[in-house]
Structure formats: structure tokens, C-alpha cells
């Protein structure tokens, strides 16, 4: 809305009382999270997300042909205020970003101000200019006060003489802060006019816009390059930490509602990484983060936005059936002292940087940046990168950042693009890796747990997503076996344990002390290897139900419509082997996963639970030696152990299946044959037809959870 004010309206009014003044624009309805930035000689208003530096134009015309400076956000009336060069007076700015010149009374110092802010403790604008005869001024913005819009000089620019280009009120203290062109942090007491120097923050330049957030963190934006730094003003030695890259301009001024958090709660437009917090992942640690603006640069197909990072082990990828860390693929093994191949799948042109924690210290050190601002184009971009010879063998983390801007560090905000953190394994020898079901893929294990009683064939009594990897050396001897996954549904009342057996593997081949087993991201002190001679059985849980307490009216976890349920069980298992176990003697994926009963009730199937003796395996999979053989052929079980037939009903239906896909399970009590109409043909043809029956395109989506 363009509005031309003629000057005589201003000066003809004198003291404007609240009664006679007609507000032309509405105030902001709430305390906004973004920082407001006015730039250019003809003032334009931008909104800046300080967390990422992303900015967008809010108004290309503010109703003035000149600059607007010395801005502040007034919590008392939800307007912004600033100084208009064209109208040579204080202006009020409403939600339409148009200026309204205000008529001030008293001794007009006739200065052009560019340093200013509105106080939180009181309803007043503070303005400053250095130099003798100038100084610190106050103008009341309280329409009910007798000194409303009256000039008040607080201290002369002789005594308060600092080279600053903006200042900001602390959210909790009636104190003004700024950083001068030499990098000195100043605190100004507005009542006495005294300025205290709190130290040198280590950055120089013209900081034309300074802001606070609700935590009392100060943000300063440098004009020449738009870099945004954050400062803990209460630190013993405050330091300016590079926080984000914002817009640069020769003329800047900023205002912000200081009691707003730096990231809007409930927003999901920033992409964070998910490496452990030590790597600089969380917002409080200035973690790597990218604004997810629309039609933006992406890595791979998927991305998710969040308010703050969910650092490992709280990664949000564990609970979802898709994983947004899909834009970076390591297509060769990583080995100390050798090069490896990494493919970055970019949606558009931009720059990629990468850090690899090769010394395993939990941080991305400067010398661990193997890729710096490498240009990429849309599609697959292949990089050959070196692993240092002294790299530590084992699992560690990497971070890949993609953006249109260069110069990103391993932490800090970026105005666009994406970050992906990937766990990697650095070997000390030549290796081969086999993936099941695929490098970025997950398989699904699904059970009916009523065995030996037939269930409703919804095959969702327990549903587990997993991926496994077999690592062998140059002579094809097994080095390690890796398994990770999570429970994605539990539509069962029974308490079941979950295990994987490596058939034919002698546990003596396992380097037991080096087994690494995590549940929900926590390292388990007890070995998962079941102490049974001759059998390599790895027990992931002896009772999964313990992790899924019944909540409210939901009986189950993610099988009933509208019922998510509560709880989680994710697991990560690394099983290293001693020398001499050939990969040829190692069982093939998907191995022998099974569930077993706990001691809790198995009624009505059994009065007394058979406990560990009750196992449920894939069809025709021989159980372990712990299985109770007296359970064969009870109720609906048609096992014929002498013929190698196990765990099937009279018509050949199984109690458990494994699907090499992130299979979507049927809703509670929906027959798998109904949810997946091609299943019947597949089953009855012994797999001759409909081998893709489990793909989503072949499902009835209304019958799936």
C-alpha cells in the first residue's frame, strides 16, 4: 500500500494525543520469530531467519524514498519503530510494513539516527549518535504518558562515544548491547548512560543489525558479507561464533521481538543433521542446519524439517519407514590409507562440503574436511576421497552439506540446501560388503504369534524393519556381521522375545568381547549371544512388550486405525568374527529370525507358557535346540520335522515371513490376502507368479495401517 504523506500534516499537529490520532495500520498480532532487517537507500523490509540466514522480502516499498534505521520492535504495542531519513522523524511501522511518521515535540536534536531500539522494560524508543553535542536520546512511546513522543536527552555523545551501528535491549535486563567496528562488545546502561566494555569478540566490521533472542543470546549481522554471529554476552570472554549467512548490504538495520525464540516452536522448515550431539548437531551447539525454502536444493529424494536436531540416538529416521539420509551413497568401502568413492545425488547445481571423523574423536576437526565447496550439478556427482593412513578403524560419522553458498563450516546455519549425516565404517583392510535387502533399503519381518494356534493372518503381531550387512575380507573370510532395525508394529497381547540365529555358525567363531549391541541407542552391557553350545543365537530382546506400554485406549502399537500407541525398540548389532570363518560357510540373508515366548501368559493357547521352549520361525525353518519338541502338531500346527516341514498350517500358511522391502502391514485383523490381493496367487503358485505382491502398488491402501 503506497501512501504519500505531505509534510504539512506532520508539523501542523503538535502533540498528537491518542484520542485524536487515527492509526492507519494494524500492529503485528504476535511476537514474531524472524528478525526484521531494513536495507537499501530506498528502504525495503526483509524477514531473516537468524538460525539459517535465510531471508525473504516482506516489503519492497515501505512508503518512503529514503532509508529507515534505528529500528526496534515494541512489545508494548506490537509495532516496530524506526528513524526515517526522508521524514526526519520517528516512524511507526505496522504489519503492512508501511511507515507512519510521528510528530515529536521538545528539543529536536535534528540528527539522522541509525542506532536505536525499543525498550522492553518500558515503552520507549532509544536513539544514539556518537559525538559531542549528540548522544543518547529517549522518546516515550506510551500514549498515556505525559511525555509521549517527547524528546529526552540522556547523555551527551562526548561521554558516551562508541563506534556502533545499532544496539539491542537484552530481553531480561534494561541494558543495551552492541559490538563496535573493532569487535569490542559494549553494554550500555540506559539510565546512567555508562558504557562498559565486555571484551573483544574476535570479529571486526560494521555490524549494522544486532538482535537478541529470548535466551539472551546476542546476534550481530555484518554489513559487508551478511554473516551472522552469535555471542553469549554473559560469558567470561564473549566470542562471536559464526552462526549463519544472511544477506549483505551497505545499509542495514534490524529489529526483533527479543522475547521470541530463535526458531519458531512447531515449525519444520529447517533441516538439521542427526549425528551424535558431540559433532555439533543441536541448535544450542550451533549445529549444521539449512533452511528448507520451497523449490530448493536437495540431496536425494527425501528431506525432513524440524525445530531442532534429533541427534543420534534420537534420530527421527529410526521410527519412519523412509529415511531422508538418501542423497549420499558410499559405493565403495572406506579403508585407512586408501581412496573411496562417494556419490552425491543433488537436485540442482550448488556446492558440497564433507567432513569425516577419521580420528574417531567425536568431532569434525578442520583437517577432517575432505570436501570443500565442490561444485555439483543435478544428478549423480562422484567423488574420490582419501582416508588418512592413520584413520581409526571402526564406526564413525560423516557430514555432507549442500547449499548454494560456499564457506560453510561443519556447524552453523545455511540459507538453503540440506545436510546429511551418515555413519561410516573405516576398515583397516580390503573388504567386501553384502547388503540385505540393499544399501539404503530395509526389509520387514512379520509374525503371527499365536502359534501353534492360527491367528487372523494380519501378520502384524510383530513387525520389524531391518537391514543386515555381511563384511568379509579379501580372502572372503567373514570379518563382521551387522544388523540394525526397529519394531514398527506390535498387534499382539503376548510377550515375545526376538532373536536372529546364524545357522551353522559356531559361536566359538565369534569374537564375543567385541560384540557391540545397542537398544534404543544405548550400549548394552550384556552380550546378546545366547549361551547355548554350538548355536549362534543373538537375542535382541527377551520381552519386546516391555518396551511398548499400553497407553490409553490403544491396545497395540501401530496396528489399529487411529492408534499409534507408545514405545520404541530400535536395535543395532555388530558381531565381529575371529579369523578363519569363510563367507561361504556363513548363512544367507535373511538368516533365521524368530520370536520366542516369555514367561507371561500365553492363554488361551497355553495355560502355562512354554517360555523359551516356544519358538516361531519362518516356514520350514528348523528351530534351535532350545525349542520344545512336544509342541509339534498341537492345535493348528502341521509341522513334520522328519520331512523338514515346520511352522505351517494345514494349508501351508506360515506364521512368519520376511519381505525384502519396507512392507506396510495390514490393519489389525485384516487378512493379508485381503490387503494384498496378489498374495494368494504368489502363495498358491509357489512363487511362480506375483513375486511383487508385497509392493505398495499392489496393495489395498485402505486396508493398511
Amino acid at each position: 500500500m503506497n501512501r504519500a504523506y505531505s509534510k504539512h500534516i506532520l508539523y501542523g499537529i503538535g502533540l498528537a494525543s491518542a484520542m485524536s490520532w487515527q492509526s492507519q495500520a494494524t500492529p503485528f498480532t504476535e511476537c514474531p520469530t524472524p528478525a526484521f532487517l531494513v536495507q537499501k537507500n530506498t528502504a525495503e523490509m526483509f524477514g531473516v531467519n537468524l538460525a539459517t540466514g535465510y531471508y525473504q522480502t516482506l516489503a519492497s516499498n515501505m512508503g518512503t524514498s529514503g532509508k529507515v534505521n534505528a529500528m526496534g520492535f515494541n512489545l508494548h504495542d506490537n509495532y516496530m519503530y524506526g528513524w526515517s531519513r526522508e521524514f526526519a522523524t520517528l516512524v511507526r511501522i505496522g504489519a503492512d510494513y508501511q511507515i507512519e511518521p510521528l510528530a515529536l515535540s521538545g528539543n529536536d536534536p535534528k540528527l539522522t539516527f541509525f542506532v536505536g531500539d525499543v525498550s522492553l522494560a518500558e515503552n520507549a524508543q532509544y536513539l544514539y549518535q556518537r559525538g559531542s553535542g549528540k548522544g543518547l536520546y529517549r522518546v516515550s512511546l506510551d500514549a498515556s504518558a505525559t511525555d509521549y513522543l517527547q524528546w529526552q536527552k540522556l547523555v551527551d555523545g562526548d561521554s558516551l562515544n562508541i563506534n556502533i551501528f545499532d544496539f539491542a535491549f537484552h530481553p531480561n535486563r534494561h541494558e543495551l548491547y552492541s559490538v563496535d567496528s573493532n569487535g569490542r562488545l559494549w553494554m550500555i546502561d540506559p539510565q546512567s548512560g555508562n558504557a562498559s566494555q565486555l571484551g573483544n569478540v574476535g570479529q571486526t566490521g560494521t555490524f549494522g543489525a544486532v538482535y537478541f533472542d529470548v535466551e539472551g543470546t546476542l546476534y550481530i549481522s555484518r554489513n559487508k558479507d551478511g554473516l551472522i554471529f552469535r555471542i553469549d554476552v554473559d560469558a567470561d570472554q564473549p566470542v562471536a561464533e559464526l552462526f549463519a549467512q544472511g544477506p549483505s548490504s551497505s545499509n542495514n538495520d534490524g529489529a526483533r521481538c527479543a522475547i521470541a525464540p530463535i526458531v519458531e516452536p512447531g515449525s519444520a522448515d529447517i533441516d538439521f543433521g542427526d549425528a551424535p550431539a558431540s559433532y555439533g548437531t543441536l541448535l544450542s551447539d550451533n549445529g549444521a542446519r539449512h533452511q528448507l525454502a520451497s523449490a530448493q536444493l536437495r540431496l536425494g529424494q527425501q528431506v525432513d524439517g524440524e525445530v531442532d536436531a534429533k541427534a543420534y540416538p534420537q534420530s527421527d529416521d529410526a521410527g519412519f519407514w523412509f529415511d531422508d539420509e538418501d542423497g549420499v551413497v558410499f559405493i565403495s568401502p572406506l579403508q585407512a590409507g586408501a581412496d573411496f568413492l562417494m556419490v552425491v545425488q543433488a537436485s540442482a547445481s550448488g556446492f558440497v562440503s564433507g567432513w569425516f571423523d577419521t580420528n574417531g574423536n567425536g568431532q569434525f576437526d578442520a583437517n577432517e574436511q575432505l570436501l570443500a565447496d565442490a561444485p555439483v550439478t543435478s544428478g549423480d556427482n562422484v567423488f574420490l576421497l582419501p582416508v588418512p593412513a592413520d584413520a581409526v578403524e571402526g564406526e564413525t560419522w560423516s557430514r555432507i552439506r549442500f547449499s548454494s553458498v560456499t564457506g560453510l563450516a561443519a556447524t552453523g546455519g545455511a540459507p538453503d540446501g540440506e545436510v546429511e549425516d551418515h555413519p561410516i565404517y573405516i576398515s583397516d583392510q580390503d573388504t567386501r560388503v553384502s547388503f540385505y535387502p540393499g544399501l539404503q533399503q530395509k526389509a520387514t519381518l512379520a509374525f503371527e504369534d499365536n502359534w501353534p494356534m492360527a491367528g487372523d493372518y494380519d501378520l502384524n503381531d510383530l513387525v520389524v524393519r531391518f537391514q543386515s550387512r555381511q563384511v568379509s575380507d579379501g580372502e572372503n573370510n567373514m570379518v563382521r556381521w551387522e544388523l540394525e532395525g526397529e519394531v514398527v508394529a506390535m498387534g499382539a497381547s503376548f510377550h515375545n522375545g526376538l532373536a536372529f540365529r546364524l545357522s551353522g555358525v559356531d559361536p566359538a567363531n565369534i569374537d564375543q568381547s567385541l560384540i557391540r549391541f545397542e537398544v534404543n541407542g544405548e550400549l548394552q552391557s550384556q552380550s546378546p549371544l545366547e549361551p547355548v553350545a554350538g548355536e549362534a543365537v543373538l537375542v535382541l530382546s527377551s520381552d519386546l512388550k516391555a518396551h511398548f506400554p499400553k497407553q490409553g485406549s490403544c491396545d497395540f502399537f501401530r496396528t489399529e486405525q487411529g492408534c499409534h500407541g507408545s514405545g520404541s525398540f530400535s536395535f543395532s548389532l555388530r558381531v565381529p568374527f575371529k579369523d578363519g570363518l569363510s563367507a561361504n560357510d556363513f548363512p544367507a540373508a535373511p538368516y533365521d529370525p524368530f520370536i520366542f515366548a516369555s514367561q507371561q501368559s500365553r492363554s488361551p493357547v497355553f495355560e502355562v507358557s512354554p517360555g523359551r521352549g516356544l519358538e516361531i520361525h519362518l516356514k520350514n525353518q528348523q528351530p534351535t535346540t532350545m525349542a520344545d519338541v512336544s509342541l509339534w502338531n498341537l492345535l493348528d500346527d502341521f509341522s513334520q520335522p522328519s520331512s523338514g516341514l515346520y511352522y505351517q498350517s494345514s494349508n501351508g500358511m506360515p506364521w512368519a515371513i520376511v519381505i525384502p522391502y519396507p512392507w506396510q502391514h495390514p490393519m489389525e485383523r485384516v487378512d493379508i490376502s485381503a490387503a494384498y490381493p496378489l498374495f494368494a496367487g504368489f502363495a498358491q503358485s509357489s512363487g511362480a507368479i506375483n513375486s511383487n505382491w508385497y509392493l505398495p502398488v499392489n496393495a489395498k491402501p485402505e486396508l493398511l495401517y
Binding site: 536425494g300 551413497v329 559405493i331 565403495s332 568401502p333 586408501a338 581412496d339 549423480d380 574420490l384 580390503d430 567386501r432 560388503v433 553384502s434 547388503f435 535387502p437 540393499g438 544399501l439 539404503q440 533399503q441 493372518y457 579379501g474 572372503n476 563367507a583 544367507a588 540373508a589 519362518l618 516356514k619 520350514n620 505351517q648 494349508n651 501351508g652 500358511m653 506360515p654 515371513i657 525384502p660 522391502y661 487378512d671 493379508i672 490376502s673 485381503a674 490381493p677 496378489l678 498374495f679 494368494a680 496367487g681 502363495a683 498358491q684 503358485s685 509357489s686 512363487g687 511362480a688 507368479i689 506375483n690 513375486s691 511383487n692 508385497y694 502398488v697 499392489n698 496393495a699 489395498k700
Partner: protein, 178 residues
């Protein structure tokens, strides 16, 4: 016996095509005979017997497949519900000293042009540093992956070169030569 087998399969082909999910059995159903040839392969005589015993039921099916409840299905006792098969893969390549070699076996990227051999890296089954000119390995192939691509990467003095070939598999085995 032969004619009964023919009927058995053709009826199920009908069932497969008409499914409520809208998805027809994929063209690769013809190759899925290899999918069926899993480790639980049974002598054909067993299959024949079971086929003839279920014939009356299936012959009464119309072309419109009706929903069959799981407990009404007639499934071969020996059918393991395997959704993957093992492939014994042989990779032959000549090696130049001073070079390092990587190989990958991945699903073929079907979004690429027909004449382009491209790998879908998100569906790699295997990756390795090659140490010998002849490498034998076993990969597990999910049923829904119809085509595979093998890549050979040669790294020499900080430069890389890649060759790609489709990996044709038959009867649980595949060989590729670079």
C-alpha cells in the same frame, strides 16, 4: 499329467492379472521361475500331485478373481515363502598394477534411458575392493529387483574410470567380464 499342469498355471495367471490392487503380475513373472527355484526346490512330481488335488477348486474360479481368505489357500508345504534368491556371481577382470579396483552390484536404474546402463545406488547389493582378477561372491537378490548392473571402478593416481555392464543371471548364477 501335462495337461493338468497347463491348466494349473494358466488359471493362476488369470488370477494374477485381475487382482484388486490393480497391479498385474509383472512381465518378469516369466523370469520368476528362477525366483521360485530357491533352495527348497522340490521334485516336479510333488508339485504335480498337489496341483491335481487343488484342481477342482481352482477350475471353478471365474476370470474375476475373488478374494480368498488366507486360511482357504492351498499352498505347497514345501514352499518357503522366499522373497529373495541367492546368486553366485563371478567377476572377471584384468588388473593393471598400480591401480586399485572396486566393484559394485546394484539394481539397474530403470528411470534411465533404455540404452543407458545405470546403477541405482540406493539398491546396491554388494560392493567390494577387488584383490584378484577373478572374484566369486554370493549376493541375495530381492524378488522385486528384475535387473542388475555391475560396475567396475579403476582408481589410478587419484583418477577414476568406471565400466558398467548389465549382470545377466540365470538359474541362480551370473558371470560378468570386464
Amino acid at each position: 499329467m501335462k495337461s493338468s499342469i497347463v491348466i494349473y498355471f494358466s488359471v493362476f495367471a488369470l488370477l494374477g492379472c485381475g487382482g484388486g490392487g490393480g497391479g498385474s503380475s509383472s512381465p518378469a513373472a516369466s523370469t520368476s521361475t528362477s525366483t521360485g527355484a530357491t533352495s527348497n526346490e522340490q521334485p516336479s512330481s510333488t508339485k504335480t500331485e498337489i496341483a491335481s488335488s487343488t484342481q477342482p477348486e481352482t477350475n471353478s474360479e471365474t476370470e474375476q478373481p475373488t478374494e480368498v481368505a488366507s486360511d482357504q489357500l492351498q499352498i505347497d508345504a514345501n514352499f518357503d515363502f522366499d522373497h529373495q534368491q541367492q546368486l553366485a556371481v563371478t567377476i572377471e577382470t584384468s588388473m593393471v598394477s598400480g591401480s586399485r579396483y572396486f566393484a559394485t552390484i546394484c539394481a539397474r536404474d530403470l528411470t534411465a534411458a533404455d540404452d543407458q546402463i545405470a546403477a541405482d545406488y540406493s539398491q546396491c547389493l554388494w560392493q567390494a575392493t577387488l584383490v584378484n582378477e577373478s572374484t566369486l561372491t554370493t549376493v541375495v537378490l530381492p524378488a522385486h529387483i528384475q535387473q542388475l548392473v555391475t560396475e567396475l571402478w579403476q582408481i589410478h593416481q587419484g583418477q577414476y574410470q568406471v565400466q558398467r555392464q548389465p549382470l545377466q543371471f540365470y538359474d541362480g548364477a551370473a558371470t560378468v567380464m570386464f
